[in-house]
């Protein structure tokens, strides 16, 4: 039984009128996995998440969550999911603690259990000292942590996080990542969407890259980088010269060269060697950065576009 996927989708489609948001995707998420959807805005990530969270029904295709059919067993499935939506919808009329205890009641959790669970979760997301406060004065990071606590109030089998750190400052993001990492270590199955490649790399065991409603690649962050990129990337900037004009002179340097509006990316197994070759050809870039390849490079290679505009 443990081998049965928690989420199983075949040919999943979501259309809104004429617009196709999700265009036939296949998925399988195993228990204990941290699974990510990586893609730019409008790739269909959130629509997919809403279908998985059994709020929106698929237009076509097959979807099984926890082995059940959302169109028939939506209520039962939702009772075993924890959802952290992209936009905070915490209850501004209630205190921090009441946001958790009230939410627990929607799952039919007894009051006493809800209170105990709320205290544990407030400790876990480091908001115990704000328990009596209203939601409004909390910072963005605190609100998001509270939303994650709320998503866990029913001790869910899967926690769904739609862009958990979008709009947060770096410090708040790192605190949140650390908490999510704790969840992952406890064996909680996490499904998240993000358009931050560093988030995907840090948190996801496996991910799919989405673009235009389709899955364009999938695998672990490492295998995606190995498959679609080179170990290292050299970023070259040429002051006033346009990258496209320099492109011709870089023929044969590294494995591949991608011109961006403001810089050139040279994909190479050995960045320093590639840089040496650039200089040997008499080129004088105004700046050179040798770095490891990231999922951003994978995405650029797969779609020809950057993740964050």
């Amino acid at each position: 039984m443990s081998e049965q996927p928690l989420i199983y989708a075949r040919g999943l489609v979501k259309r809104f009128g004429e617009f196709t948001a999700v265009d036939g995707i296949d998925l399988e998420v195993a228990p204990g996995e941290a699974f990510g959807f990586l893609g730019p805005n409008g790739a269909g990530k959130s629509s997919t998440m809403r279908m998985i969270s059994c709020v929106s029904l698929p237009t076509a295709g097959e979807l099984r969550i926890l082995g059940m059919d959302p169109s028939r067993d939506g209520t039962t499935i939702r009772g075993r999911l924890g959802v952290c939506p992209q936009l905070d919808n915490l209850d501004p009329d209630l205190s921090v603690r009441e946001n958790l205890t009230t939410y627990a009641r929607y799952f039919g959790i007894p009051r006493a259990v809800a209170r105990r669970r709320a205290e544990e979760l407030l400790d876990f997301v480091q908001l115990a000292d704000r328990a009596g406060s209203k939601v409004e004065p909390l910072s963005g990071g605190m609100k998001r942590r509270l939303t994650i606590a709320r998503a866990m109030v029913n001790d869910p089998d899967i926690v769904l996080l739609d862009e958990p750190t979008t709009g947060l400052d770096p410090q708040a993001r790192h605190l949140l990542w650390e908490r999510l990492f704790q969840l992952k270590r406890r064996g909680t199955t996490l499904v998240l969407t993000t358009h931050y490649m560093d988030e995907a790399e840090q948190l996801c065991d496996r991910l799919v890259v989405m673009d235009g409603g389709r899955i364009v690649a999938q695998g672990s962050p490492r295998s995606l980088i190995e498959t679609y990129s080179t170990p290292e990337v050299v970023e070259l900037r040429f002051g006033d010269e346009r990258p496209a004009d320099v492109l011709g002179k870089l023929d044969g340097v590294g494995e591949r060269v991608d011109p961006l509006p403001d810089r050139l990316l040279v994909y190479a197994a050995d960045g320093d060697a590639a840089t040496a070759e650039v200089h040997r050809r008499g080129l004088t870039p105004s700046s050179v950065l040798v770095r490891r390849s990231t999922l951003e490079d994978v995405f650029l290679h797969l779609t020809g576009r950057t993740l964050v505009d």
Binding site: G79, N89, P92, D93, E98, T102, Y106
Partner: protein, 266 residues
């Protein structure tokens, strides 16, 4: 078929959780109480100024072969209005705010709670709020000698039906609202109902065409039902008024639940 599917799967515990959420919000701050209290005083002020004040000029009124002091005629109408306003305040402004801006219902719909259960919970809460108004108002009527205690008690369940009816319609309307400005339109309609539904003058005194229009609108039926009981003049005709209000409850509830599903579960 659709209807039976919706209704048979309702969980009282989940409806209770939606009511409990509103109770929690009520406990959380004084602002809500201010709104709550204002809903009681408005019809009371009308009763005192027009029913008692203008009533002193009008004197006795002949209704259905009986002679009544004007204030006794107006008081049950104000009671029906209190039931309407109490239910509407909750199911329009508050419901709309939770649905559209606070995203409270989005959060709830990610749990096992269904749209119809939200509608039932919100309506029940509106009833609790509305019954506070009408309960206090009934006591005022008895104290001022505008109704006998027993008939006032008989009118109370009728005010609950009025609250259910307007609460259901209020929710249905809220699901169609585009923004706060649409509520101005609703407020105007509500005020017109308030003035012309046989509240301050017997509908029989209006021109025939106007009588027909009034008899189609909902507050007329609410006023007739509540007044018939409050002045101790029950008749089989009251059942027709009750049936009209019951139809509002069912229609409004089902429509609101369908709209919640169509707007929020996409």
């Amino acid at each position: 078929m659709m209807t039976t599917m919706i209704v048979t799967r309702v969980s009282p515990a989940r409806v209770g959780a939606v009511i409990g959420r509103n109770l929690g919000a009520l406990r959380s701050g004084p602002s809500y109480w201010v709104v709550l209290v204002s809903g009681f005083f408005e019809p009371l002020f009308y009763l005192l100024s027009i029913g008692v004040g203008v009533g002193a000029l009008v004197g006795e009124l002949r209704v259905g072969g009986r002679s009544l002091p004007y204030a006794t005629f107006v008081a049950p109408a104000m009671l029906a209005v209190a039931a309407m306003s109490g239910a509407l305040a909750e199911t329009t402004y508050n419901f709309f705010g939770k649905m559209k801006y606070q995203k409270t219902f989005d959060a709830i719909l990610a749990t096992p709670v269904r749209p119809f259960e939200i509608a039932l919970g919100e309506l029940s809460w509106a009833m609790i709020r509305g019954s506070l108004y009408t309960g206090m108002f009934v006591i005022v009527m008895v104290v001022l000698g505008l109704a006998s205690p027993l008939w006032a008690l008989a009118a109370f369940p009728a005010t609950m039906l009025v609250g259910l009816a307007f609460g259901s319609i209020g929710m249905a309307i809220s699901t169609l609202m585009r923004g706060w400005q649409d509520f101005d339109l609703m407020a105007t309609g509500q005020f017109a109902l308030f003035l012309f539904s046989g509240t301050f003058a017997p509908v029989g005194d209006y021109p025939a065409a106007m009588q027909v229009i009034i008899q189609v609108t909902p507050l007329y039926h609410a006023v007739e039902l509540v007044r018939g009981l409050a002045i101790g003049d029950p008749s089989w005709g009251l059942l027709a008024h009750a049936a009209y209000l019951l139809a509002m409850v069912l229609g409004g509830l089902l429509f609101a639940a369908r709209r919640l599903e169509r707007v929020l579960c996409v």
